[in-house]
Symmetry: C2
Subunit: 320 residues, 2 copies
């Protein structure tokens, strides 16, 4: 067998699985995500194949404090979307310790009624390296799910820290979930999470203090600068309020994009590049062995330069 025919065979096999990817094949999608996530040799073929279709999916971010019933609510929302004939991708981001295996969320969703549904595809992402690493990985997975033709991509994060806010930034519509009696109500909505929400959901609305939490959030939402988020009550376990949530998400997406989502992939790419460049700078400056860096640190400590000027000079050091 000549080398040429072997190469042709490999090309044919690749064309075959990227074609299956575009046809909605789950195994091909799993393989494509792994390739793009890890930037393997196959990544380029995947990205070329999906490029013309990018901007199809509505990307929805779901975040909030642990204990709010976020996974159950996501499951109920998926059910609603399936009932409306939509295919769904879920990127379950769990910034857990690598030691603990992470990605509890994805496992939970996989254990639900959607496990056997070919129209639902779940991918878990656990902590990976630096600040920003999770956000970058999630962005790429959203790209693949989007380009592969899934109608709605849900990015779900555990917790309410600044990294979750980062990741939520990937989504066009940001849903923040809380529940009555989550210890200090205020603590549950922190880290600027309220500021980014398009929709605030009080889940477990059948619990006694739900009305009070809804009122609190409505007050907070009213005080916010800029567009006022929608406040909704749901009971994910019974499905109450879930259809209204799905409608509110569609409405928010429509209001924002005018139905045109073609700019979204470019925005995600810009965010990804900005994060990667920032990380590169941080790593370089953390590791740089240059007497001028030590002098700059001391100049900052002495007050001879302010932080902005020190940052500018530091960038010049690695720009050479």
């Amino acid at each position: 067998m000549s080398r040429k025919s072997a190469r042709t065979k490999a090309d044919a096999s690749r064309d075959d699985w990227t074609r299956r990817l575009l046809a909605g094949d789950r195994a091909a999608l799993a393989r494509a995500i792994t390739a793009v996530e890890n930037e393997t040799g196959e990544a380029r073929a995947v990205l070329r194949a999906i490029h013309p279709r990018l901007g199809h999916a509505l990307v929805v971010g779901v975040t909030g404090a642990p204990g709010a019933g976020k996974s159950t609510l996501t499951g109920a929302y998926i059910g609603e979307l399936r009932g409306r004939g939509k295919t769904v991708g879920v990127v379950a981001v769990d910034p857990s310790s690598p030691l603990t295996g992470g990605a509890l969320l994805g496992d939970r969703i996989r254990m639900t009624e959607h496990a056997a549904d070919a129209g639902v595809f779940v991918r878990s992402v656990a902590a990976r390296g630096h600040l920003g690493g999770l956000s970058r990985t999630a962005a790429r997975i959203v790209d693949v799910m989007d380009g592969a033709g899934l109608d709605v991509v849900i990015v779900e994060t555990v917790g309410a820290g600044q990294s979750e806010v980062e990741i939520a930034g990937l989504a066009e519509v940001k849903v923040v979930v809380t529940a009555p009696g989550l210890g200090d109500d205020v603590q549950a909505i922190k880290a600027g999470i309220l500021e980014i929400a398009d929709i605030l959901v009080v889940n477990k609305a059948d619990q006694p203090l739900a009305r009070r939490t809804v009122s609190q959030l409505e007050r907070m939402a009213g005080a916010r600068v800029g567009e006022r988020p929608t406040v909704l009550a749901t009971t994910a376990t019974t499905g109450e309020g879930v259809a209204a949530l799905a409608d509110a998400i569609d409405e928010s997406a429509g209001a924002k994009a005018g139905g045109d989502r073609r700019a979204s992939p470019l925005e995600r790419a810009r965010r990804l590049i900005s994060l990667a460049a920032a990380e590169r700078v941080r790593d370089a400056l953390g590791a740089i062995e240059d007497a001028r860096m030590d002098e700059l640190c001391d100049a900052l400590l002495r007050g001879d330069v302010d932080t902005a000027e020190a940052a500018r000079q530091a960038l010049a050091l690695i720009g050479e």
Copy 2:
């Protein structure tokens, strides 16, 4: 009055309050922190005054999930330090929404028995702008407390997200607090928090499941790559285990620095500069209006460049 004599008077007044700062005056310390935090005109005088004394304080990070009794434990640790004749600074970092006012933690500490103690100084920091902003502000406050001569500076953060890990990086000794029955035990120790801990504390050790949590953490600690963290049990409300915690912190600090902490301020400055430079890059790339940036985003989406190469090219765009 000539301009010269007016200037001399202002200089004398400034010398006076920076001298009071070095003498441990609380009002002067509060003023100095505000100046440095906001980089006002007075910042330089403060930094010059404290510069020779930087590296005095032992910097201890305390973090962990909400509900672990972190504030109570911090209060008990402060009491122990005061009993040992140490002065204490606390930087209470609360990444709460600006809308909610933030800084719950500092308020709690202020309400305790240490409120009237001249040897304890608490400063709260709430969310401010970008990712990294909190970490930068906290670093500068640590500098001022350190240079002003406080013996131990505790950096306490609410939550367990990646930004908390960031902030904990300011500290020489990192204490992670959890408690039995905090929902999913695994969730309480996430976001790489376990990886950074020098000391893992199970607080509320009088609760039924405490032994099990200690065993779990000991297993996790044993599996960790690198140096194995110390696992301790405390009951902050009764003071049980708090002296042992203080000893373990001293021991960890001694083992790390060999008692010499002069490198710490330079490390903090380097971290601060790296973060500020990274943020500057991110902001610049997020806002850049240059057709080449759009082309680069599209090249990334098409798979023509990988993330690292896109980051490199993007940096070249703003380096011009």
